[in-house]
């Protein structure tokens, strides 16, 4: 079994309104940071998964993301895997 460090990025689907992003963007403008747009806020998850090989780790991670980490109705996800031991 190998342990992999996973970095998962869960983001709102483009067509879904992002109230948090809008609020931060207008807050930045109030603070004088004019040159910033398109603020979108999502979740960043780190975890360790031990699996037979990278393929198995990927398969398990897909399941974990679909079932729990991401809400397929309004979110997309992608992840990076790195063997650590």
């Amino acid at each position: 079994m190998t342990t992999y460090q996973a970095k998962i990025y869960v983001t709102l689907r483009p067509s879904v309104l992002d109230p948090a992003g809008t609020a931060v963007e207008s807050g930045l403008k109030h603070m004088g940071h004019g040159g910033i747009e398109g603020v979108r806020i999502g979740k960043y998850v780190e975890l360790k998964v031990s699996a037979a090989d990278e393929g198995a780790a990927q398969k398990q991670l897909d399941e974990v993301c679909d079932q729990l980490l991401a809400n397929p109705v309004i979110e997309n996800y992608r992840f990076e895997l790195q063997a650590v031991g």
Partner: protein, 222 residues
Amino acid sequence: MKFGVIVFPGSNCDRDILWVTQGIMQRPTRMVWHEDSDLSDIDIVVVPGGFSYGDYLRCGAIARFSPAMRATTEHAKAGKPVLGVCNGFQILTEAGLLPGALVRNANLHFVCERSPLTVERTDLPFTQGYDQGQTITIPVAHGEGRYYAEPDTLKRLEDNNQVVFRYADNPNGSLNDIAGICNEAGNVLGMMPHPERASDAMTGGTDGLALFEGLVKQLVAA
């Protein structure tokens, strides 16, 4: 002797405080829009509860940069009283007027309850109306009220006797059951429970009124 209540677009409890200071205590109170930076006519600044700027990112993260909050920082530096309630407490920590941070409740749920608190010190304008160690019941209503600070900050708070209120039945996992703290000078108080919701017998409980009355008595005497 005048109260000033800061109003952010997302403030919800600003009018609840106005009801206590002006409706019940008949004290002049001005509602200060967040873009207004003139607090020269104000004796006691109150930063109320609510969701200042929608606070989806982090409670109070944006509010601290508003003109009214910059003026409040000067007000505090001049030794004048500042009271931050719930979101107001979060804003005071984000603005650096009080140490530590308020993070998501341990059970991950918003909690609205009547919470028993122990009064830890009564030598402050805010708490002179209570007895040392008295238990009072004040409503709490928050989703991010868990007080957190680094170990050394926590130790300094306890050593300097800056913990003002402690939960008797911790609703959110705050370290050392901290419900409210003050700065070293003792003129800035931040607390998660809502004293303005326990100041009117009609809506249950008056344990919070003594806090506002204490402030007025102190200033009128000074």
